[in-house]
């Protein structure tokens, strides 16, 4: 007796679970029931799950019957001639979509040779077991699995040509790689996903070499000239919104250069970048904290008594460039939102030229930050005058076993010399032997190594250097997004302690464990100084031991309990004063015993 569930709801029971499963599968293949039906017979729990709902991840597999794949040569011929398409294959019951649950019941062969009587399905291509990002990596079968995972994850962080209509879009945040190139060593998935039409990376000459120690710990050294020619250059766009809101009482925001009497008026200079309409015009350069849309709003808390309209009762609510960012006003968009309010969108564009600390990676999870921008004339060169664009530390290779990247160097080199793309799709059986002979034919060493000459002395280098072409990706983690320092700055209202976070110009927290380190070193005075950001000196009543109030008229401290002013000035952290207040609010009397300072 098996329970049958449809989309997780109990439907009934059956004596013959096999029959139901068969019926659903047959029906789906013959087109009697929709293609979206998936069925699973869970033998452990003895139930049948039929799923037809949305949100299931499904993938296509070739149906195998009695050890014979349904996809035949004649179909492939027809596809080549354009007589047959994807939907025909599905409608004719050659390929079907399988979800994660149904896959549990199946035996899937990865290649045609593998198919036996027992198999129920076959992969369309062995590489289709990989996800989209992982299938963009050439020669993945030569790498450790974890490296492919890292590589696939980093593909998601690369900058590229993300959309052809980017000048028309108003994305809140976007990056655009200048001069993006399709990879020389590519995969079939790259073509299939059409990523080659909007690529995300550049092909560069990489030498595997230790150079002046600036590429320790996975850092890379870049050729200054390559960077000047456009390697790794990108643009960062950010769109700022300003809405002309309407409030009760017929009041509304105003988008214009604020008048001087407005509360919170900045300075005449602060608004100098704005045009007459109060909005920054395109191609004007702005910096962090500059006003880009001038705006005023009515006061928030208006008492019923002093209802006065006028400039004095408006406050400044201009849109400013984020702290630490800047750039050029790229475009200004005027529109209306769904409430009928006027909407201003200003997009800023900032050029990002690779700088020390920017993050780059290959497709094999070999990531590193820029460690040195070296002048081209100082870099090593070959007899043909080739200098590397990137110098990668050889220590990055042995512990990570990214053999695929070594193959890409060889493949990329042949590709560049022949002017042809090289296919590096997974499980196609390519080896280094495929590139050895070609390299020799093209007049290079078959092992990919080259004789290099020291760029500074002109001496021949003792070792031959492994050099070739690798596809490099620029990742979205750039120094200019993260650089942050502070000496003095804003504090939070409640605790008087420094604000947190880069956007708020915050301080860097000296945490619990860091505190322990100061103590372990015996550096008490340094510790006290570091924790003095919220220090206050408060009068404490000697008798009652609570913090005294300051009398506004006399300026003298007076104890709220005994009404006397026998106090001692005590320095303490404001956070402690808050703690005392909170204890008092819980009816705990925290009495401080103070004595005169020596």
């Amino acid at each position: 007796m098996s329970d049958v569930f449809l989309n997780g709801k109990f439907l009934g029971t059956t004596e013959d679970p096999k029959e139901i499963v068969e019926e659903v599968r047959e029906g789906r293949r013959e087109g009697k029931i929709p293609k979206e039906f998936n069925v699973r017979h869970n033998k452990d729990e003895d139930n049948i799950q039929i799923n037809t709902d949305t949100g299931r991840v499904r993938r296509p597999l070739v149906i195998v019957e009695d050890g014979d794949p349904k996809l035949k040569d004649k179909h492939i011929e027809k596809i080549d001639e354009g007589e047959m398409g994807w939907n025909d294959l599905i409608n004719e019951g050659i390929i079907e979509w399988i979800d994660a649950a149904e896959e549990e019941d199946l035996l899937v062969a990865t290649t045609e040779e593998e198919v036996t009587e027992k198999h129920t399905h076959m992969e369309i291509h062995p590489a289709s077991i990989l996800g989209i990002n992982a299938s963009l990596i050439p020669f993945p079968e030569y790498n450790r699995g974890d490296r492919i995972s890292y590589g696939a994850k980093m593909i998601g962080q690369t900058l590229g040509f993300y959309s052809a209509n980017y000048p028309l879009r108003a994305d809140t945040k976007s990056n655009l790689l200048a001069y993006s190139q399709t990879p020389l060593v590519t995969t079939q998935a790259e073509e299939a996903t059409e990523l080659n039409k909007h690529p995300a990376g550049q092909n560069v000459v990489v030498a595997l070499l230790s150079y002046k120690g600036f590429n320790i710990e996975d850092a890379l050294i870049m050729n200054q000239k390559s960077v000047e020619r456009g390697f790794g250059r990108s643009y960062f766009f950010r769109t700022y919104d300003a809405e002309k809101k309407r409030y009760s009482g017929g009041q509304e925001d105003e988008i214009k250069i604020p008048e001087k009497d407005v509360r919170g008026y900045r300075s005449e200079e602060a608004y100098s970048q704005l045009a007459e309409d109060g909005i920054v015009p395109p191609e004007v350069e702005v910096e962090g904290n500059d006003v880009i849309v001038g705006k005023t709003s009515p006061l928030r808390f208006m008492g019923t008594g002093d209802f006065v309209t006028g400039i004095q009762n408006r406050r400044e609510t201009s849109i400013t460039v984020r702290h630490g960012e800047g750039g050029v006003a790229d475009k200004v968009l005027l529109s209306e939102n769904e409430d009928g309010n006027k909407l201003v969108k200003v997009t800023l564009r900032e050029q990002r030229i690779p700088e020390l600390g920017d993050k780059f990676a290959t497709r094999y999870g070999q990531k590193g930050v820029l460690g040195l921008l070296e002048k081209e004339e100082n870099l090593p060169f070959t007899k043909d005058g080739i200098t590397p664009d990137v110098i990668l530390n050889p220590h990055a290779i042995p512990s990570r076993q990214t053999v695929g990247q070594m193959l890409e160097v060889l493949a990329g080199k042949t590709g560049a010399l022949e002017g042809k793309k090289v296919d590096g799709t997974a499980f196609t059986g390519k080896t280094n032997e495929d590139f050895k002979d070609k390299l020799k034919e093209l007049g290079f060493r078959s092992d990919g190594k080259e004789v290099l000459y020291n760029g500074e002395t002109g001496e021949k280098m003792e070792a031959e250097i492994f050099q070739g072409i690798v596809y490099y990706e620029k990742l979205e983690h750039m120094v200019s997004n993260k650089i942050h320092a502070r000496s003095r700055g804003p504090v939070t209202l409640l605790t008087k302690q420094p604000t947190e976070g880069r956007a708020k110009e915050g301080g860097l927290r000296l945490g619990e464990m860091e505190k322990d380190c100061f103590i372990a070193h015996g550096a008490s005075m340094t510790l006290k100084e570091r924790f003095s950001s919220d220090e206050v000196t408060l009068p404490v009543c000697k008798k009652c031991g609570i913090i005294a109030d300051e009398d506004e008229k006399t300026g003298k401290a007076m104890c709220p309990m005994c009404k006397e002013s026998d106090v001692e000035e005590v320095p303490m952290s404001y956070a402690f004063k808050l703690l005392l207040d909170e204890l008092k609010s819980m009816v705990i009397y925290p009495k401080l015993e103070v004595e005169e300072a020596v």
Partner: protein
């Protein structure tokens, strides 16, 4: 040169170990008087530098020295020790935590049983292991049947196993018929027949009786489920799973001067608080060392001492050392803030502000290191 005389003069200044080493090196290098004196001077200076200075927060240093390597410990718990059967013992971080936490029950209690000279060989060790390991009826049974018609139980016995345990069927029946019971066991051919005294027994009860019979103790020491014999540099020992230190110490062939339990609380019960301290020290240090980490044993000593100074076991943490801190603020900032504050306010506790955490809270100098001393100057009037 009379190095001995030179070194002996340093009795007040250097510990014995350092003095012996000093003498050894002097002899090895065959130093002249001037050189020897220079060496002594440098050694004295180095020794002085290596000691903690007044005001140094060695508690924090110990805490950091143990906990930083502990973050690198893998969560791997299994380890095969000795023979093919193997004894799975908790290791790494979970083990360190249960030692320092002074847990009442530990995950995998085990013992290191050392042997007296006469038994310090393979046969002797195996003999002792056989006597220590607990054997239950279920361990020697090969098959059991519940006869529903006659309302009885039949148990087939694996004779090979029985022989290995130095037992025969009569011994087994004898053990089964010991004490108060609701059945009578007897030999029937190669099997054992269990006849319930109550003739109207229900099937369910019969099943329960079968389980009870299978759990019946036949031989060995209760609580010891495994005993594995291992050899290390010609010396034989037995590692056990499960502990019963008191009983094992009485077994013939066991060296009671060396045999220890891995459960610190059991050591405390049998040998007292000093043994507890040594077990904490030994087990804590061993656990860190097994993970390939290097922590100076002195840090672990401080922990062990802190846990035992009162003569009572105190855990590191909320219910032990940290919970007994003098300062209200320090306790409140550690864990369960509200409880400490309410209790302190009910009792009217005073915080003397003479330790670390509370002074950090109110932002006063912490009485440690540079904050330990003050300079005061009174001008002459």
């Amino acid at each position: 040169m009379d190095y001995k005389k030179m070194v002996d003069k340093l009795e007040e200044e250097l510990p014995e170990k350092v003095r012996n080493r000093l003498k050894e090196r002097m002899e090895e290098e065959d130093l002249n008087k001037e050189e020897a004196q220079k060496l002594i001077k440098n050694t004295k200076e180095s020794y002085k530098k290596a000691r903690f200075e007044a005001g140094e927060a060695f508690g924090v240093v110990a805490a950091q020295s143990i906990s930083e390597p502990a973050t690198q410990m893998t969560m791997r718990t299994y380890h095969v020790a000795g023979s093919a059967q193997g004894v799975e013992i908790t290791q790494g971080l979970p083990r360190l935590i249960e030692v320092v936490d002074a847990r009442k029950t530990i995950k995998t209690p085990s013992m290191d049983v050392y042997l007296e000279d006469d038994f310090n060989n393979e046969d002797g060790a195996k003999e002792v292991a056989k006597n220590i390991k607990e054997t239950k009826m279920g361990d020697v049974a090969s098959e059991d049947r519940v006869d529903l018609l006659n309302l009885s139980i039949e148990i087939d016995v694996n004779s090979k196993k029985l022989e290995g345990m130095d037992l025969d069927l009569e011994d087994v029946v004898g053990k089964l018929n010991k004490g108060r019971r609701k059945y009578e066991a007897e030999i029937e051919g190669e099997a054992i027949k269990i006849e319930p005294k109550d003739e109207d027994i229900s099937v369910r009860e019969l099943q329960r009786m079968k389980n009870k019979v299978m759990g019946k103790h036949l031989k060995g020491i209760k609580g010891i489920s495994q005993a594995v014999v291992t050899e290390k540099k010609g010396s034989w020992m037995i590692q056990t799973l499960g502990t019963n230190l008191k009983k094992v110490l009485g077994v013939e062939g066991v060296d009671p001067t060396k045999t220890v339990s891995g459960d610190p609380r059991e050591m405390q019960k049998v040998f007292g608080i000093e043994a507890y301290r040594n077990t904490i020290l030994k087990e804590g240090h061993k656990t860190i060392k097994e993970q390939g980490l290097d922590v100076d044993i002195r840090h672990m000593m401080l922990v062990a001492d802190m846990m035992t100074t009162d003569g009572e076991i105190k855990a590191i943490g909320r219910y032990g050392v940290a919970g007994e801190k003098g300062s209200v603020l320090a306790r409140a900032s550690f864990e369960v803030t509200v409880r400490h504050l309410t209790e302190a306010s009910i009792k009217g506790e005073t915080d003397e502000l003479n330790s670390t955490v509370e002074n950090v809270i109110i932002n006063q100098t912490v009485p440690v290191g540079t904050g330990m001393y003050e300079v005061s100057y009174e001008p002459k009037k």
